[in-house]
């Protein structure tokens, strides 16, 4: 091994050493946190993009609680995204003066933000409880359609501007204001401040969802996904459990909605539109619904590929086209999504590495060529098999 002094050797050796020296998950988490802090000193746009990524990741992860874990594809989760967003924006607009009167103008913006967030999530619960109760009675495509219908209902209510609350197509402008604590001023809406605020809310939320998934509640969710009638025959009230999962999922989407209002500086009807409901669906399919981190990976791919494409002005207008191609590729060749793909890639790299150790660069290249064509070929063959007997 020492004969090949490549960079892969050094990286590989570093990784092995790290693991053998007890570099546990916790330590890698600490590294990640340091990275997160360092990123805050990057260009403002990158900070913004990463903030958006964290929000979309939470959105998709909460959505997948219902899709990947319970087996219900909701096509109306934008209503909860908008619910959080509007709850927050309306409280900020209408309650700020009263809050300032009670707590003093110094910390009023921060207190209003917290109240807005609570209002946003409460509003989401208020919608999710009845909508979920009705929707979980249906399954599969019917569930997708009824959630789509409820989502568009919420969208049209927002457009109608009931009582002047939602301001129709303009949306509600969000001004986070200047907080003053102990003589120090800071703007909550400033990119870096908001980045840290988002991280401080999203990371614990992700941990909470992880705990939900691994709790007895989450285990029952997975069982319902696999076989609802079997779960019922073991004493599980399937409809009730789906309903509760719907509500938990919606509540976390509401948190993401609260955060997007502050980032975009507006609660927009677009947040409630069905195209917004498609974002977590697409992110989850790309990332892989069967992995906990799948939606996070998917949200990352979704936002950064879009950003990458937007770097080429000629392509920017058609970014959805390229995105569509990517989606087709994922569905055809990586049924387990990018997270599954990454695991596959790790295994494949290991195999290439083994070939390299056996016979140097040539062997590694041969193996890479062979396995790639085999993989592509297998994709074709499985399509044929599904198409019918060809024997």
């Amino acid at each position: 091994m020492s004969t090949h002094d490549g960079i892969t050797d050094r990286v590989g050796a570093f990784g092995r050493e790290a693991v053998s020296n007890g570099w546990t998950t916790e330590r890698f988490a600490v590294l990640g946190l340091i990275g997160l802090v360092l990123l805050a000193f990057g260009p403002t746009f990158q900070v913004y993009l990463f903030t958006e990524f964290m929000i979309i990741a939470l959105f998709a992860l909460a959505f997948n609680l219902l899709y990947g874990y319970t087996g219900l594809l909701s096509f109306g989760h934008a209503m909860f995204y908008a619910g959080g967003s509007y709850g927050m924006a309306i409280v900020l607009r209408d309650a700020s003066p009263y809050v300032a009167e009670v707590v003093g103008s110094g910390i009023a913006p921060l207190v209003t933000f917290v109240l807005g967030a609570l209002a946003g999530v409460s509003l989401v619960l208020l919608i999710a409880v009845p909508v979920g109760w009705l929707s979980v009675r249906l399954e599969e495509i019917y569930f997708a359609l009824i959630t789509l219908a409820f989502g568009m209902l919420v969208f049209s209510v927002i457009i109608q501007n009931p009582g002047g609350l939602t301001r129709g197509t303009d949306g509600v402008i969000v001004t986070l204001g200047i907080t003053e604590v102990a003589g120090m001023e800071f703007r909550l809406g400033e990119r870096r401040t908001y980045y840290f605020l988002t991280a401080a809310i999203v990371l614990p939320s992700i941990y909470a969802i992880w705990r939900v998934v691994n709790s007895p509640f989450g285990t029952v969710c997975k069982a319902i996904r696999e076989s609802p009638d079997r779960a019922a025959a073991l004493g599980v009230d399937v409809t009730y459990h789906r309903w509760m999962t719907f509500v938990v999922s919606a509540a976390f989407v509401g948190v993401a909605g609260v955060l997007i209002a502050g980032l975009a500086n507006v609660a927009s009807p677009y947040h409630a539109h069905w195209t917004t409901s498609a974002i977590p669906v697409v992110a989850t399919v790309i990332g892989g619904a069967t992995f906990f981190a799948g939606p996070i990976v998917g949200a990352f791919v979704f936002l950064y590929v879009r950003w990458g494409i937007s770097r080429f002005p000629a392509l920017e207008a058609h970014w959805e086209f390229f995105f569509g191609l990517m989606l087709i590729g994922t569905v055809l060749y990586f049924k387990q999504g990018a997270a599954g793909g990454l695991l596959m890639l790790r295994g494949w790299l290991g195999d290439v590495r083994a070939a390299y150790d056996r016979g140097g660069t040539d062997a590694a290249l041969d193996y890479a060529k062979e396995s790639t064509s085999e993989r592509l070929g297998r994709g074709d063959r499985s399509a044929e098999e599904e198409g019918g007997d060809r024997e």
């Binding site: 285990t219 076989s227 004493g235 599980v236 009230d237």
Partner: protein, 255 residues
Amino acid sequence: MTTVLETDGLTKRFGELTAVDDVTLSIGDEGVTSIIGPNGAGKTTFYNLLTGVLEPTVGTIHLREEGELVEITDAPPHEVARRGLSRSYQITNVFEGLTVRENLQVARISHDGRTMDLRSRAASDEAINEEVDRLLELMGLTEMADRPCDALSHGEKRSVEIALALAIEPTVFLLDEPTAGMNATEAREIVSLVKQLDEELAATFVVTEHNMDVVRDVSDRIVVLADGAVLADGDPEAVLTDERVTEAYLGSEAA
């Protein structure tokens, strides 16, 4: 003998067709009862009525719960299960994508009424896993505990299925064609397992079965259904030599 499951005038009609016709049965806690009959005799419909999957057109069902017969006629499947009626399926029905251990955890979580528990961790909860380990041991599944069910053989899935049904500590355990798709050796193993479980556990076993050798070996009592109605009921020897029974079977084979 104490009655654990009782039907009175149980009838199910699908339009013109009467699938289960006025079945009045009382099943006691002694020995294994087999419910047999030619194809289309109404066995599966009868099971689906008992477990709350279907609602009867007429008639009542009672199940023993804490020393009393309680009516479960209109109870939905999950409530029937909670009251102590457990089942296995003719086509193995386990949580395919989950590991054997996770399968049993689901059953224990349900039995303990902890389906809404968001705080503990299913994988490390002692109360859940102690019982899961015991069941794995009982069914000889310990070695494959961490394998996903879709990687198991048909026979192994059957064991998981039986373990699942036992995990909720039922009063009555309905087995639907437990030897379907099995060879003679595997079928014999199932027979001795059912007889052993029936002796060791408090549960009462009710079996539907096609395989006559299995029926002869496993049953302490046989109920024959034909065209949805009870044709014969009683001691295995007497029932299996009953002319009407042979006729019903031959008739179905001729058709």
